[in-house]
């Protein structure tokens, strides 16, 4: 199992359980998010605490996830490791996404 989903107050907290969000599991992330949105939840907190490596396919899957949820609701990313923060910085995605240091802070932002 590479992903774990918890729904709290109409907000999905999606945890990437795998240590690498790469081309081998990126398609699965898109399917999981499509399933969450299909079930009616369009606000999503993406928890990357366990991820210590991300490639461009993983980044593409995160962008895809935003597009699936963000246009209708809200999408935040939490708990980035140094290596994941690096890919967001190199691609300037850190300027575009809402990023929080913890799930609690991302969740509270959603609830505000």
């Amino acid at each position: 199992m590479n992903f774990k989903t918890e729904i709290k107050e109409d907000i999905a907290i999606l945890t990437v359980v795998a240590s690498r969000l790469d081309a081998s599991i990126a398609p699965e992330l898109k399917k999981v998010v499509a399933g969450i949105v299909g079930d009616g939840t369009t606000r999503l907190v993406l928890d990357l605490e366990k991820v210590d490596f991300m490639d461009s396919s993983g980044l593409g899957a995160v962008i895809s996830s935003f597009k699936l949820t963000g246009q209708k609701g809200e999408f935040v990313i939490c708990n980035m490791s140094e290596a994941v923060a690096e890919i967001f910085s190199l691609t300037h995605m850190d300027r575009l996404f809402e990023i929080y240091p913890s799930v609690d802070e991302g969740y509270q932002k959603m609830c505000a």
């Binding site: 490596f53 490639d55 461009s56 396919s57 962008i63 890919i87 190199l90 575009l96 996404f97």
Partner: protein
């Protein structure tokens, strides 16, 4: 530091790529290569191998990809070789550092592409990238400059 060469070979299976990525990161850390960030080198190598699997071999398993890790006092070269279909003829221009195109903060997330980031990342983290088609094989050389250590 002495020069050296280490060669790894994997099958064209995305699930195998992480093993080479982790090996490359460990080699960079173990050899204490000055000026090279192991996570950046790992990222570049993974992107290049993914490219071989997805484009040269059209995501078909059962093919071979060789990763040669060559280091000396002033440069780390990592050469990724496959026997798949050639890259487009104009690919050399795509590797120019001057053509890095990251989005500005004014871009809307809805407009961002979901693919094509690998090439941009390669150009950002590598000092030089050279592609050759030799003997019916693709050869992509990723170079990282090293600062010679003081004697």
């Amino acid at each position: 530091m002495e020069s050296g060469k280490i060669t790894l070979t994997i099958e064209s299976d995305l699930a195998q790529v992480q093993h080479v990525g982790e090996a490359v990161r460990c080699l960079c850390s173990h050899l204490s290569l000055a000026e090279v960030k192991p996570s950046s080198v790992e990222m570049a190598v993974v992107e290049a191998i993914n490219n071989s699997i997805e484009h040269a071999y059209a995501s078909q398993a059962g093919n071979e990809i060789e990763v040669a890790f060559e280091y000396s006092n002033d440069v780390l070269n990592i050469v990724i070789s496959d026997s798949g279909v050639p890259m487009p003829e104009n690919v050399s221009g795509l590797f120019r550092k001057s053509e890095i195109a990251m989005p500005s903060s004014a871009v809307e997330l809805e407009c961002l592409p979901e693919s094509g980031w690998g090439m941009q990342l390669l150009k950002t983290v590598c000092d030089d990238i050279e592609y050759q088609r030799l003997d019916n094989a693709n050869r992509l050389c990723l170079s990282f400059k090293l600062s010679p250590l003081a004697a």
